[in-house]
Symmetry: C2
Subunit: 157 residues, 2 copies
């Protein structure tokens, strides 16, 4: 192994290890801050700001009553379903928890509650599972499974 | 940088790169094989075999109508909800798709259908999002959000 090879290897090690070490500690608080900002954006009824919690990528998935693929379709689905402040209502999260997968990815679980007027669609509740990625622009959601649970007193169709 | 340091760095590079390169290609088919085996185990009404699709870890999460934590609680939840062959019914997956996160983790999405008699609880349908990990024992589920959707004609409570 010549001198250049050794220097090259040392650079590879540096490239691989430095982001690994620096990303670890503040993940939980950074992810929760991102989640709480998304709640604020939602409750200001600003879907475009809310959408920035997601990675702007064609590969992201949003799973609810169907599977939506990619940032653009995700934004369109939100805008189709929540076109007015009344339909957006007031969002809150509880039981929010992050779990690391590795230094680049983590999962977030929690319960969402949407407080809405009957005209806005009524209240909605459910649990969610998110996969978030530590990107150069911060933690971003790359997978989202948020299913509205049937209400305790099921409505007629 | 002395000779020992260089050898040490080269070993670190080898350790980091070799699993990265070897794990990539067969992930999709290996994950789908794991999923299809779990369907076979379910349809033989063998919950203990089915549970081996999950990582035996206290950190895994199962999200449905509530959040269950850890392998033991996940197995207990399955056994409480699906204690008889009639309640287990016949499981099938459709729209099964894997997406890599990195070489160690991937997500799996799909639709599940449970064909059951009325006495067994009736049919059930929903989408799921799984996070799977490439462990020494193969691909294992570490997060599972599987929510039964309300039926098109909602039943009375």
């Amino acid at each position: 192994m010549n001198r250049l090879t050794r220097i090259f290897l040392a650079l590879i090690v540096a490239t691989l290890l430095v982001p690994t070490l620096s990303a670890q500690a503040p993940a939980d608080s950074a992810i929760k801050a991102m989640m709480l900002k998304s709640v604020d954006d939602w409750n200001r009824h600003d879907i475009d700001a809310f959408a920035k919690s997601y990675k702007n990528s064609p590969d992201i998935l949003f799973i609810g009553r169907k599977v939506s693929r990619g940032y653009d379709q995700m934004v369109a689905t939100y805008k189709a379903g929540y076109g007015t402040p009344e339909k957006m209502g007031t969002l809150s999260f509880s039981e929010l928890e992050t779990q690391p997968l590795d230094t680049r990815f983590a999962t977030v679980t929690g319960h969402f509650h949407l407080e809405r007027t009957a005209a806005g669609g009524g209240n909605a509740d459910g649990f969610f599972l998110l996969v978030v990625e530590h990107t150069p622009a911060g933690w971003k959601i790359v997978r989202d499974d948020s299913t509205v649970l049937p209400p305790p007193t099921a409505a007629k169709p």
